[in-house]
């Protein structure tokens, strides 16, 4: 079992969701975030005072997947989020110890999907 965390541009969320659906991944958690990587940051200006390197708006998508879905998930997210510019985002893959479906008490592989 793996836990996939992807940080993407906010406006690519719909595209990523669509690609994940096609890959058979329907379950996810989405969080509003701010962050930056090589994109540096955004400059805002208020009454003439510049705020440089403000963190940019991002979206974090978190998906728990069984092994066989890992590569399709990574491909789907990449395809949906790609624009070809710095700031497209990153995908982090972590090992998942266990997963529990609260309603039924199922654990492990069956609980993920």
């Amino acid at each position: 079992m793996k836990y996939v965390i992807a940080v993407i541009r906010p406006h690519k969320l719909e595209d990523v969701k669509a690609e994940l659906e096609k890959a058979g991944v329907h379950l996810m958690t989405v969080v509003d975030a701010v962050g930056c990587g090589r994109q540096k940051g955004v400059t805002e200006i208020y009454r003439g005072v510049k705020e440089v390197d403000n963190l940019l708006r991002k979206i974090k998508i978190e998906v728990a997947v069984n092994e066989e879905y890992l590569e399709p998930t990574i491909e789907a997210i990449t395809k949906g989020a790609y624009e070809g510019n710095i700031g497209d985002g990153k995908i982090f893959v972590m090992g998942l110890e266990d997963c529990v479906r609260i309603r039924t008490g199922e654990r492990g592989k069956p609980a993920i999907g």
């Binding site: 805002e44 200006i45 208020y46 009454r47 003439g48 005072v49 705020e51 403000n54």
Partner: protein, 405 residues
């Protein structure tokens, strides 16, 4: 004799000016950080309450009571004694209505100063300071300029709706307060507004309320009322565009915050002049107030490094000074008041200059003294820890917004 048409308008105007105080609360509230929004709103709301009471108890008497030595109004009107429905001499509205209209000005003036000390003021000290400031600075100043027998009024100083009495005093007091209080801790001088839409709502309703503020200062319905109304709108419009153009040229982008700041600067600048100048002059006055405000907010504040957080001095102080002087230049008896420099009467400009200097010096010294006193007796600044957590939680044990429902 009561004129009921005048009375109806003045009732409306009074309500319009009252609206400006909660509105100002939102203008300021949107500009501070999330964790301090309630404290800012609270300060305005409680000023509305405290000064409404102070005014009917003794504030009105000090400001507009029968003159004593040109300096103060005395105690004849304490508790609204002798304040009846019968109009004052020369007026056509019930005395109590005139008192109420003036009340709304007395309320909003200390509320303006809030902008200088947001995010670090101690609530108890703030209340005591406000009460003392209104009584010892606003009430005398109002008497000098507007009280019959007031010494600046007798000298012929023109202040139609309070450029000097309200904006210069508030602006200068704010500057002194900010200098004495010190800067906000860390990240202070220029944190993003947490809710600019609030501030825009605020600015829009301030513009609306200002029609009551200026046109209502005619104390009735007549040609001067119409002139004041038109001048108010025109100056605000000129100021908004001016600030946008300056923003665009100098900061490379036209900003919304710039536009609404410009609007306020223009409204402030026209306040002393509204019933005395032509609409064409209003364009110049609005644009000039905006330009001066822009310079102070953008360059002077940064150069001198004081944390007048919401630019009370930069906008209200400077545009107020400009407007008061511009009144001395552009005033024309054909609209109202007296003739200014452009109409062959240079003396008016000199009187305006004097009233400006008096307002500045009196406010500065008065604020210094009151600050020192209140700071010693109650304290005016919160601890660093409290400032970091935020005033909403530490001063009021409330939060403005929940993260999750």
């Amino acid at each position: 004799m009561v004129n009921y048409t005048d009375t109806v308008w003045m009732l409306i105007a009074t309500a319009l000016v009252m609206l400006m105080t909660p509105t100002l609360a939102f203008f300021y509230g949107g500009l501070v950080r999330k964790k301090n929004v309630l404290s800012v709103l609270m300060q305005s709301m409680i000023i509305l309450s405290i000064i409404s009471l102070q005014w009917v108890l003794f504030g009105y008497s000090l400001a507009f009571g029968p003159d004593i030595g040109g300096v103060i109004g005395g105690l004849d009107f304490v508790g609204l004694a002798n304040v009846t429905m019968k109009p004052l001499e020369g007026q056509t509205i019930p005395h109590q209505l005139f008192m109420m209209f003036q009340m709304m000005f007395a309320v909003i003036t200390p509320a303006l100063i809030v902008g200088a000390f947001v995010e670090r003021i101690k609530f108890s000290g703030f209340i005591l300071f406000t009460l003392l400031w209104s009584t010892l600075i606003y009430d005398p100043m109002a008497h000098w300029v507007w009280g019959s027998g007031g010494w600046l009024a007798d000298l012929g100083a023109l202040d139609f709706a309070g450029g000097t009495v309200i904006h210069i005093t508030a602006g200068v007091s704010a500057l002194v307060f900010a200098l004495m209080l010190g800067k906000r801790c860390g990240g202070g001088m220029g944190s993003s507004p947490h809710n600019l839409p609030f501030s825009v709502l605020g600015a829009g309703f301030l513009w609306f309320g200002w029609f009551g503020f200026n046109a209502g200062s005619a104390l009735g319905v007549g040609n001067q009322t119409i002139s004041a109304f038109l001048n108010t709108n025109t100056a605000a419009a000129a100021a908004a565009s001016t600030w946008m153009i300056l923003d665009w040229m100098i900061n490379k982008k036209p900003t919304l915050l710039g536009v609404i700041t410009g609007v306020v600067a223009g409204l402030v600048a026209i306040t002393p002049a509204a019933g005395f100048v032509t609409p064409m002059a209003s364009i110049v006055i609005g644009a000039g107030g905006s330009l001066l405000g822009f310079v102070f907010v953008t360059y002077v504040k940064e150069k001198f490094g004081y944390d007048d957080s919401l630019d009370v001095f930069g906008v209200h102080g400077m545009a107020g000074i400009f407007g008061a002087l511009a009144t001395g230049i552009f005033a024309t008896k054909s609209i109202g008041g007296a003739d200014g420099l452009l109409y062959g009467n240079p003396k008016q400009l000199w009187v305006q200059f004097l009233s400006v200097v008096v307002a500045i010096v009196f406010s500065a010294i008065g604020t210094y003294v009151i600050f020192k006193f209140v700071d010693k007796v109650v304290g005016l600044r919160v601890e660093k820890r409290e400032e970091n957590i935020g005033l909403d939680l530490t001063q009021h044990q409330e939060t403005g917004y929940t993260l999750i429902d």
